[in-house]
Symmetry: C2
């Protein structure tokens, strides 16, 4: 067995590179968390002083306090940790539904929303968007779909589900609008804030949300994988029912454990430790959201000066994640020996990473956390590449 290839594995993207990867911008660790990562790098390192058998209840390091403080930070009542926002969605939907139930989701939802529903044998109803080029959600349709479902099934849907910002176009929806519909119909309401919580201010109470899903590695500057499920007191007990299983011969029971979390949430060690050490940084940075958004809008304007480049999705941007059609570069790829990889190669030469290798029809970029200077380097690099291949800039 050739084991050498596993030795000294290093990330190929260097520290001095600019990384535009849409899923990675909010997960970059601040320097203080790199130290925490070393201190808590070993498996189960946060379990040194676990007395209750659950990592969320550990008070040294102060994980129990952290859960309470994060709940306050997003204006909800409780926070529970999970294996990721994908796990969050499954946990919440499992608590809220029976197999066969209908849930209403937005048609821009993350793929993990569909999979959570599939896992639980739920029937999905999708709230449409208005298609190309804006892909704007028709929020009012939530009410129509509720009525339709009630008429057909004799009961309202089990859950309303909204994706705060979607992962394809970065469209941002006002959760309060859907929250009002949910409250009117008394339907539990889940907001997936994987792309927003941790990078912009969140107010769950104002949203009228019963559940919010967050992603530590996506948007809370933590090593992860780790997700967080925020709930209201009203829902927390039935969302995290304690184990009631008993060994029929042994009589063994585990009454502090939570089955949906596999007992103790699988986030011990580096994931929860770095979420903790990054929290002061995250707490501060959400105040600067407007500046990041301004930079993203400025960036779009500059990129659209390239021939046929066109940002799709909401205009102006309400988030730093964006999709840009680049048909002029696609035409270049057709005559280039490296085909679609020419763009990847050209960017790599300029120490820019994160555009999916091979793609040139449409590119996805997230500018979050990059400075104006860094974005300027990206723009001038794109201009250079365009000019090199006779694509107009102007």
């Amino acid at each position: 067995m050739n084991l050498n290839k596993y030795k000294n594995v290093k990330r190929r993207i260097g520290k001095d590179w600019i990384n535009l990867n849409p899923i990675q911008r909010g997960g970059v660790l601040p320097p203080e968390s790199r130290e925490t990562l070393q201190s808590f790098g070993d498996g189960y390192s946060t379990c040194d002083y676990c007395l209750e058998g659950r990592v969320d209840l550990v008070d040294s390091p102060p994980i129990d306090d952290l859960a309470g403080d994060i709940a306050k930070f997003v204006n909800m009542d409780e926070i529970m940790f999970t294996a990721g926002c994908r796990h969050v969605q499954w946990v919440a939907l499992k608590a809220l539904t029976e197999p066969g139930d209908v849930i209403v989701i937005d048609s821009l939802a993350h793929y993990t929303t569909y999979l959570a529903a599939e896992n639980l044998d739920l029937e999905i109803r999708e709230v449409p968007h208005n298609g190309y080029p804006d892909f704007e959600l028709e929020v009012e349709d939530y009410a129509d779909i509720i009525e339709e479902v009630e008429e057909k099934k004799g009961e309202t849907p089990a859950v309303l589900f909204l994706t705060h910002v979607d992962y394809r176009y970065g469209n941002r929806i006002n959760p309060e609008k859907v929250g009002k519909i949910a409250k009117k119909w008394k339907i539990p309401y889940f907001v997936n804030a994987a792309y927003t919580g941790g990078i912009m201010p969140i107010d769950g109470r104002r949203w009228k949300s019963d559940f919010i899903g967050f992603s530590g590695h996506k948007s809370w500057a933590s090593s992860g994988p780790i997700g967080m499920l925020a709930t209201s007191y009203e829902h927390s007990e039935k969302t995290f029912p304690k184990s009631e299983v008993k060994g029929p011969w042994s009589g063994r029971g585990f009454t502090k454990k939570i089955p949906q979390l596999f007992g103790c949430p699988p986030v011990f060690g580096a994931p929860i430790a770095t979420l903790m050490s990054s929290f002061p940084h995250v707490y501060e940075r959400v105040q600067n959201w407007d500046e990041h958004l301004e930079n993203a809008r400025w960036f779009v304007d500059k990129l659209e000066k390239i021939e046929d480049f066109r940002q799709i999705g909401q205009r102006p941007r309400k988030h730093t994640l964006m999709s840009i059609e680049t048909p002029s570069f696609h035409r270049v790829s057709k005559r280039h020996e490296r085909r679609g990889f020419f763009l990847y190669d050209e960017l790599k030469e300029r120490k820019i990473a994160g555009i999916q290798p091979g793609l040139t029809k449409m590119i996805k970029i997230n500018t979050y956390g990059l400075s104006k200077e860094e974005l300027e380097h990206v723009i001038s690099s794109f201009y250079e590449i365009a000019e090199k291949y006779d694509v107009e800039v102007g």
Copy 2:
């Protein structure tokens, strides 16, 4: 909000300490993985060159190869990564059962086995052990229980489940014995090797196992949380069914994703990267298992020289995890102002950690990976503490 307590969080157990924590010995990172941890510390860092949408298929770093090599290493056909061995059990049982099915488990099983069954509404039948002081499993009872279930339900149990080494007494069962029963009755057979895979040689084919569960943070020297599910070709396809969900309005589908893994296994970044960088180390170290076992046996002999200290569970030890009754120390705790915490305090003074604070009736220790010199320091510390409180050593 007081955020200072989250700043500069450090593990209180120093690097020069000896840690006996039963769940932590097999998860200690080798030095080379501490570098990998830094390189891949950011969330989604292993997704830089993901073309297939699943981290287990990434080939830079060579995660796809790693899965194949680990499968060979444990003599099985395929490996899939999960959020931990707790997630592994749920994934396998979900694939193998319908609600209401009977599964047969050993009565020393990890609590997460019971919880996985609870999550899936399964009926548990337990294979008894022979009680105090050995807690030896009555392996032959698997066959009796199968017959009983068949008689009562008209069909054999859906799964036979064995815990290779249990977390309370560290008893090790020969999986081949149960494997023969499983093959005879043609019942899928799952072995939980969370405490053995990665620290001792594993031969899944010889065990006649269809599924083996492993824990990266527990026994494969990886930061985690990460688990691995090993399967045979026969079972792999139905264990990891691909997503078939379709958005009813949008037509969206995700046919490469695996619902039970929440799409893409939640192990990207540090968990999978450190599992990889530690694999050459793990590959070597399992060859030294006998030496670690010898040390554990020697350690037990020495500790039992203290008045009333008695190792319970199998004798001689077949694993480095052990439970030791310490009633003489419990008597000390009754007259000590710090009560049961006196032992914790005394050990802490000697830079020894990992004994559950407050406990003195029975202690759990894992000697895996500690040198003879380190173990000698532990023994002489215990002797000193005994003598300090007039407990005989002799």
